[in-house]
């Protein structure tokens, strides 16, 4: 480029793109929107249309006659309410547990540790993401079982392992999803200028006050962002619950049993609307916190 360039030297198309933001936005948005807006949303829509269809039990083919039967079953049979409540409860507890564990770690990383330690800690916390989800779940199964590591550690305190069941499941899921909570909070806190903390201290605020009045408000949207991960990952899980959940089942199992074993896609689709509705409500609630931009 030289200083003597004039507008006439610009390639005309580039100039057009520069002058017309609308065209630029349109061209840039078309491929991702075709992919997500048409293909992905289309797939979801097709799934939910299927929920209104029936199934031929002998041949297993979907019969395209409209019926509300699947939703009627879903609403009138108690067990689906129980399973939904249990799943939401577990998702909420896992989320809270992860937030409580992740916050101090993220704060330490972002505002106390030296840059070198900071880097090492990020690596240390990302590494477990690479060990297979299944292998980690089975490792927890070994730890939670009778005579496993958990009861070894707990027995001197007069405690015992929670065994396989809801408690064990919550611990395992919280473990599996922890990195997804730590990273957004860490990123959020890193943006918080240290000068702000210093100002707070200079103005006489004690650590506790600084935490409450300065750090938490900044961390909150980040925590919410992390919670989208932990909440949705828990809502859709059906594998960990089979490994450490004892005789219990979650929404994911109900969907999986119907689509995988019974090949009843219409009913599975109807059950799948529950986690979708829950997640959409959740997203709508958290959108106001600005959390979605922290994902």
């Amino acid at each position: 480029m030289t200083a003597t360039s004039t507008a006439a030297d610009r390639p005309p198309r580039a100039g057009l793109l520069h002058r017309s933001p609308r065209l630029r936005v349109g061209l840039l948005l078309t491929p991702p929107m075709l992919w997500l807006g048409v293909a992905y949303l289309g797939a979801l829509a097709a799934l939910f249309i299927t929920a209104f269809w029936g199934q031929n039990s002998f041949t297993g083919t979907v019969e395209r006659t409209w019926t509300l039967g699947n939703f009627r079953d879903l609403l009138t049979i108690d067990v689906y309410r129980t399973v939904t409540a249990r799943t939401i409860g577990i998702a909420a507890l896992v989320t809270v547990l992860d937030a409580v564990i992740a916050f101090p770690v993220a704060l330490f990383m972002a505002k106390v540790a030296s840059p070198r330690t900071q880097r090492a800690l990020v690596v240390a916390l990302l590494m477990p993401l690479w060990a297979s989800y299944l292998v980690k779940a089975y490792a927890w199964r070994g730890m939670l079982g009778t005579g496993g590591l958990v009861s070894w550690v707990a027995s001197p305190f007069g405690l015992d392992t929670p065994g396989f069941g809801i408690t064990g499941l919550i611990i395992t899921l919280a473990y599996l999803w922890l990195p997804y909570m730590v990273l957004p909070i860490y990123a959020g806190l890193e943006r918080l200028p240290t000068s702000l903390l210093e100002a707070s201290a200079d103005l006489g605020a004690r650590s506790g006050t600084t935490l409450r009045r300065v750090v938490l408000p900044v961390a909150f949207p980040a925590i919410v962002a992390g919670s989208v991960f932990t909440f949705s990952l828990t809502m859709g899980d059906y594998i960990a619950v089979r490994i450490v959940g004892g005789p219990n089942q979650m929404l994911g199992n109900v969907v999986f049993d119907n689509v995988g074993a019974a090949n009843n896609l219409p009913f599975a689709a109807a059950v799948a609307t529950i986690p979708v509705v829950v997640m959409l409500v959740y997203l709508a609630l958290v959108r106001r916190t600005g959390a979605l931009e922290n994902l």
């Binding site: 799934l47 101090p104 505002k111 297979s132 994911g252 986690p275």
Partner: protein, 269 residues
């Protein structure tokens, strides 16, 4: 210092505790890869190298690893392209559908995997008429990976503003030249961070993969799943996992070097 000594000590203490908690199961996995008992009973009574020998000669594991890497690379590439385009499009524009677009990009990761899985499975087979296979896995993975790139790039763009690009254009560079010489270098570390997260997401994904993979294609998580249920193979799975844990240090360290800042890992906001 901004925090009291007590608070800093507490934070340090909890971080150490969490690290111990995070690494205990992983250490157990490594230990179990030497455990002679086939259902890795605790405590191990006898140690063996048999599983490491078996794993070293497991063609299935190697092939699955190859498939996983290919899928993850392709899915990452697609999400880099699509995510960057979307982020650039939404920059400094406030058309009415802006929020809807953001929401749409987040949706595949925010909806439970099993929903995305059966929706895509159904669409691939009945609407598109595709046979499930390698490409369907890539498409499915790219769908939920776009968001990591999009968010990283968007955050970077927001921080940078557009002055340099304006200057470039005013000096006569075209849109594409400006992108190549100005915008792209500024985005590089954000792309790296987003891409790495996308790669990791794809690499260990099992639920969506279950529904979008044909019976022939095995990604590593699917191979692990299948082999946990073949006798004598479960301990081999521990070996594979142990190797993965150790090998994962390399890409993460590399990415850190390249991005040049710790924040690069999480998006350099």
């Amino acid at each position: 210092m901004t925090f009291s000594r007590g608070l800093r000590a507490t934070l340090l203490g909890s971080t150490v505790l969490v690290l111990v908690l995070v690494y205990t199961p992983l250490a157990l996995v490594v230990l179990n890869s030497f455990n002679a008992n086939r259902s890795f009973a605790w405590p191990p009574r006898e140690l063996t190298l048999e599983w490491w020998r078996a794993a070293a000669s497991s063609e299935g594991a190697r092939a699955a690893l190859g498939t996983s890497v290919e899928v993850a690379l392709l899915a990452t590439f697609l999400s880099l392209v699509l995510g960057t385009m979307a982020a650039l499009a939404l920059r400094r524009t406030s058309f009415f559908g802006r929020d809807a677009v953001s929401l749409l990009i987040i949706l595949p990761i925010a909806l439970p995997g099993i929903v995305t899985g059966i929706a895509l499975n159904n669409a691939f087979r009945t609407i598109f008429g595709w046979e499930l296979g390698f490409l369907t896995i890539v498409v499915a993975h790219a769908t939920f990976c776009i968001v990591t790139v999009f968010n990283n790039v968007q955050a970077r763009l927001r921080r940078l503003g557009g002055n340099l690009e304006e200057a470039s254009m005013d000096l006569g560079a075209g849109t594409f030249t400006t992108f190549r010489l100005v915008t792209f270098p500024m985005l590089r570390s954000a792309l790296l961070a987003g891409g790495l997260l996308a790669f990791a997401l794809s690499f260990d994904e099992i639920i969506v993969t279950t529904f979008t993979a044909g019976a022939q294609e095995q990604t590593l998580p699917i191979w692990i799943f299948n082999n946990l249920f073949r006798p004598n193979q479960a301990p081999v799975v521990n070996v594979v996992a142990a190797v993965l844990i150790l090998a994962s240090i390399v890409p993460i360290m590399l990415a850190q070097r390249l991005s040049g800042s710790s924040a690069g890992m999480t998006g350099a906001r």
